[in-house]
């Protein structure tokens, strides 16, 4: 009989059928499973499940739908060891409760059913009021999956301005719609929604975000140019402007440098071949690149560091730090020196570092600067303890000796003697200091 076949199919797909495990510890479990399976065959007799009723046509033939979701057993059932179970719960419900299966579920029950994963037709919520009650129930139910499902339905059956207007006063639902539109990539509708809500800054940001999807640099440049007119905040407009200008600049530099590198005439490009293109790199990285490959160029050229500094208003501190790192990498110690030397109006030079000399030392050391070079800057570290640490660590003996002398610390000075080479100039210096009667040692 075809009805029996439908039921059989139902039984095998029913939620109570579970995989068998062979774990011995689950003895209790297998017992329960057995009794459960027996009792659940009762489901054949009374079946309240809408889905299945819909499946059977008038002739009793099952109308197959491949896509039925088998709802898996509630795992708690398997483990409860009480005698009272929800065997065939449908039996217990009074007949009067069986709704007409063309579903007259209330909004609340509809939401409930959707939360349990059941298929629910929302088509009968036709009036705007009904729709909104349904939406509010979904929001009250806290399940974002259901809220989004209702919104999908509303989006399909309401003119957008009507929908927008209703969502304006429903924050939670609004968030869900916005997230949904972002996920499905419905950019146009999203922007319309944001404009409707007068969230102009978000409109601008949302459009700007698209640049991340553009691979071709020329197209990206054009796109960024178009972004400049968008309703950003005053502060952000300058950032967008900078982004555009930077990319434009990078394109020029990249094209030129690629030619230079290929032509093989330029020494620097031969000695240090470029490992990556400068396109889409941050400004500081671009500055580093420029200080590395184009350091001596005049301010007028697009690739000179000073031009970058001026165009993007790079603060001195940042500039010196980056230029230092680049020149140190090239072991151009004189350039390093020049960066850190300022001349006052009298013509006297002074060493000044806007970043702290311990940082200077760190950068130089990372690039294996020779001790004589390193020493000069270690000497200038202001904090005495740091100076001693660095000097000792990097074997800048003169600095150590001088510092201990200044601190009048005889014990430490004596102890340091073992760190210097026997018979070296440093050892002699220590000895002469130690035997100097004029120094008032503190210990």
């Amino acid at each position: 009989m075809s009805r029996a076949r439908a039921d059989e199919e139902e039984y095998w797909h029913s939620s109570k059928f579970r995989a068998f495990t062979f774990d011995d510890e689950d003895d209790e479990l297998s017992q329960l499973k057995e009794s459960k399976r027996a009792v659940n065959s009762l489901r054949d007799i009374v079946d309240d499940d809408d889905d299945d009723l819909e499946k059977v046509s008038w002739s009793g033939e099952p109308v197959g739908r491949r896509n039925r979701l088998p709802s898996l057993p509630s795992l708690s059932d398997a483990f409860s060891d009480t005698g009272v179970k929800n065997y065939a719960p449908e039996l217990r419900r009074p007949r009067a409760e069986y709704k007409d299966y063309s579903n007259d579920w209330s909004p609340r029950d509809t939401v409930r059913r959707m939360q349990r994963g059941k298929v629910c037709s929302l088509e009968r919520f036709r009036s705007l009021q009904d729709k909104m009650v349904l939406l509010d129930e979904a929001v009250a139910g806290h399940d974002g999956n259901v809220i989004t499902a209702v919104l999908i339905f509303l989006k399909r059956t309401l003119r957008r301005e009507v929908l927008f207007r209703e969502l304006e006063v429903r924050q939670v639902a609004l968030c869900h719609l916005i997230h949904f539109l972002k996920e499905t990539g419905e950019q146009k509708l999203l922007l319309d929604l944001l404009r409707f809500l007068d969230r102009t800054e978000e409109v601008a940001l949302s459009q700007y975000r698209e640049h991340l999807n553009i691979q071709d640099v020329e197209k990206k440049r054009e796109f960024l140019k178009g972004c400049i007119g968008l309703p950003f905040s005053a502060e952000d407009i300058s950032h967008i402007q900078d982004h555009y200008t930077l990319l434009e600049r990078q394109i020029i530099i990249e094209t030129n440098d690629r030619h230079l590198a290929m032509a093989g005439q330029s020494e620097i490009f031969r000695k240090y071949p470029r490992k990556a293109s400068i396109l889409n790199m941050p400004l500081v990285t671009t500055l580093f690149y420029s200080c590395f490959y184009h350091y001596t160029e005049a301010e007028g050229t697009f690739s000179s560091p000073t031009n970058l500094k001026k165009t993007f208003k790079i603060p001195d501190k940042q500039y010196v730090l980056t230029a230092l790192a680049a020149r140190a990498k090239l072991r151009a110690w004189e350039d390093v020196d020049a960066l850190l030397t300022t001349k006052n109006w009298l013509g006297y030079t002074k060493k000044k570092a806007p970043i702290g000399f311990h940082r200077v030392v760190e950068i130089l050391q990372r690039n294996n600067a020779p001790v004589q070079v390193l020493q000069e800057y270690v000497r200038l570290v202001e904090d005495v303890e740091t100076r001693l640490n660095l000097a000792t660590k990097y074997k800048c003996h003169d600095v150590v000796i001088d510092t201990y002398r200044d601190l009048k610390d005889r014990i430490q000075l004596m102890a340091y003697k073992c760190k210097v080479e026997r018979g070296s100039a440093e050892e002699e210096k220590i000895n002469s200091l130690l035997s100097n009667m004029q120094i008032r040692w503190k210990n």
Binding site: N67, N86, D143, F180, I240, K317
Partner: protein
């Protein structure tokens, strides 16, 4: 955590059941597509899956080849394709592309999609739109909880944070509720539920609805889990923003612990191979040092090494019989210990190398200053230099957010200047990053007229008031402004120490941050438990704010008082 220092503490429940259930369910689902099939797995699910059903188990159930769900087209030649995925729109498009490509080339295959932990209606919509709804079967793998250790369970849903806190999407609340339901049915019934935060409340309510419907009373079973605390992450960002200084935290920082295991590269293994190590209570060495402050770890490891060496050296004076005994009984254990020791020592060395490079010590000092609220200008300069030096985009942001949270927002001048420098150092597209952080409240600007002192003085008046109602008001207003200083003062999150904090024998929980800060969640659990045991049913100001009462259970005798409390209106 996984440390039971107290002898009277009960054994943790057997969370292995969760893994077995998940595995059985997955196998059942796979068997519903009988015959040989290829399995496509979403990258996020690969690590969790590995802990539940590894490759050999899958192969036993007729899984031929395994592929990652990626941007590239599927190279599979099998007639049956199975996809194990999270419910994402873009993944649906990926699958639809495969199905449609097959249709175009006249190929017909079987396609099965297994959604974990559940299917979303939006996914069905996309499948329908793409015209493949009728060509695929959809199933749900109710995998909600993965035990990572004896006492740590994870939902492994990293997208939760962004989806809920940034986008305001409630899509995962059902999963949380179902996870609670599962725990309740296996290890409950829970007696009391406490919580802070909107999401916690919604999860609780949804869970309550689920329990009511399931008509499962769970009577007669002795509960293994008694109390539940549900807390929203945004109640305490500070804990997540401070640098970790206990061993396990540093391992995570340096190597990234995923699903309870970590990949140690050649520099750690002192060989040319990398190995994957499971980090849990089974690792005898790890379990002893995981919660220790890093300063004591090296000492511990070298002590252990010396002991180990001494044990080995005992061989010298042994006769044949003793030697045989030694080899059969002890050698294996010693070898194991040796292996673990060398791994962890190698890990320590890597950690130290990395941290020295990044001025770790100085950074910790800055964090502590921010927590205590002094030397703010110096701290801001440190952050500025950190950005200028392009040290690390994530670390720079982390420090900025910590500054923002502890100071109730950056002063506008600093916000603008740090933002500009960040964009210059790490890329102009981070304009979007800053907007997201602002939306979520992690990195904000102080509004004019709302400088810290004004807020703080207003708030401090409120928190000294004894009346419970006023305290609730204080918490409400604090929640809006998330005033870190007032909360940490009220709950004594920052220990007052005379002299140096004793890390070897720490007096409180703040040792996890070298004595600078006690995580809020831990403090709340501690305080609630203390008050509950000390004063019985009397509600303290704190529990009044947090507690929603008994866990939902229609037949439970506690449900009456829960309903009463609900009626009394706990405003949250």
């Amino acid at each position: 955590m996984a440390s039971t220092a107290r002898r009277d503490a009960p054994e943790p429940p057997d969370f292995g059941i969760l893994k077995r259930l998940a595995r059985d369910q997955l196998i059942y689902l796979l068997e519903q597509l009988p015959g040989r099939k290829d399995l496509f797995i979403e990258p996020d699910l690969m690590s969790p899956l590995d802990r539940i059903a590894n490759v050999s188990v899958l192969k036993q159930h007729e899984v031929d080849k395994l592929y990652r769900v990626e941007n590239r087209p599927a190279p599979s030649t099998s007639d049956q394709l199975c996809f194990l995925v999270r419910p994402r729109v873009r993944t649906m498009r990926y699958i639809a592309d495969i199905v449609n490509a097959d249709k175009m080339s006249g190929r017909s295959r079987k396609y099965k999609i297994i959604f974990s932990p559940q299917k979303f209606y939006a996914c069905e919509m996309v499948l329908e739109e793409e015209g493949v709804f009728g060509d695929v079967t959809c199933d749900e793998w109710s995998f909600y909880l993965l035990p990572l250790d004896e006492d740590i369970i994870s939902m492994e849903l990293p997208e939760f944070f962004r989806d809920y806190f940034l986008e305001g999407d409630h899509r995962w609340i059902n999963s949380v509720a179902r996870a609670l339901q599962l725990l309740n049915s296996l290890y409950g019934p829970f007696s009391r539920v406490y919580g802070i935060g909107r999401c916690a409340k919604m999860s609780y309510e949804l869970w309550r609805d689920l329990e009511e419907e399931s008509e499962n009373d769970g009577q007669g079973r002795k509960p293994e889990i008694g109390n539940i605390f549900l807390m929203d992450r945004d109640m305490d960002y500070v804990t997540a923003l401070c640098s970790q200084v206990v061993y396990e935290g540093l391992v995570d920082d340096t190597f990234r612990i995923k699903c309870g295991s970590v990949d140690f590269g050649p520099e750690v293994t002192s060989s040319d191979k990398s190995i994957k190590v499971l980090l849990n209570a089974q690792d005898k060495i790890f379990s002893q040092i995981r919660n220790e402050h890093f300063s004591s770890v090296f000492g511990f490891l070298s002590q252990k090494s010396r002991n180990l060496q001494a044990q080995y050296d005992r061989r010298q004076g042994m006769d044949i019989k003793q030697m045989k005994n030694f080899v059969s009984q002890e050698l294996k254990g010693l070898k194991q210990e040796h292996r673990l020791l060398s791994l962890h020592i190698g890990a320590c060395e890597s950690i130290m190398k990395k941290k020295t490079k990044q001025d770790f010590q100085e950074m910790i000092k800055v964090e502590h200053a921010l927590l205590e609220g002094f030397d703010i200008r110096e701290s801001t300069s440190f952050i500025e230099e950190h950005i200028d030096r392009q040290v690390s985009p994530i670390e720079s942001l982390r420090l900025m957010c910590l500054l923002s949270i502890t100071e109730n927002g950056l002063i506008p001048k600093d916000y603008r200047s740090l933002k500009t420098q960040y964009l210059q150092s790490y890329g102009p597209e981070h304009l979007l990053t800053f907007h997201n952080l602002k939306r979520i409240g992690l990195l904000t600007e102080q509004a004019a007229g709302e400088t810290l002192t004004a807020v703080e003085s207003r708030v401090s008046k409120l928190v000294t008031d004894r009346a419970a109602g006023k305290i609730t008001d204080a918490f409400n207003s604090l929640a809006k402004k998330s005033n870190f200083r007032a909360i940490s003062k009220k709950l004594s999150l920052i220990p007052r120490v005379d002299g140096e904090y004793n890390l070897k024998m720490p007096p409180d929980m703040a040792y996890v941050f070298s004595g600078a800060y006690t995580p809020l969640s831990c403090k709340i659990v501690e305080q609630t438990e203390r008050r509950r045991t000390a004063r019985g049913a009397t509600r303290s100001a704190l529990s009044w704010r947090c507690s929603w009462g008994a866990a939902p259970s229609p037949r439970s005798p506690l449900s009456a008082s829960w309903a009463r409390r609900e009626a009394a209106g706990s405003s949250s």
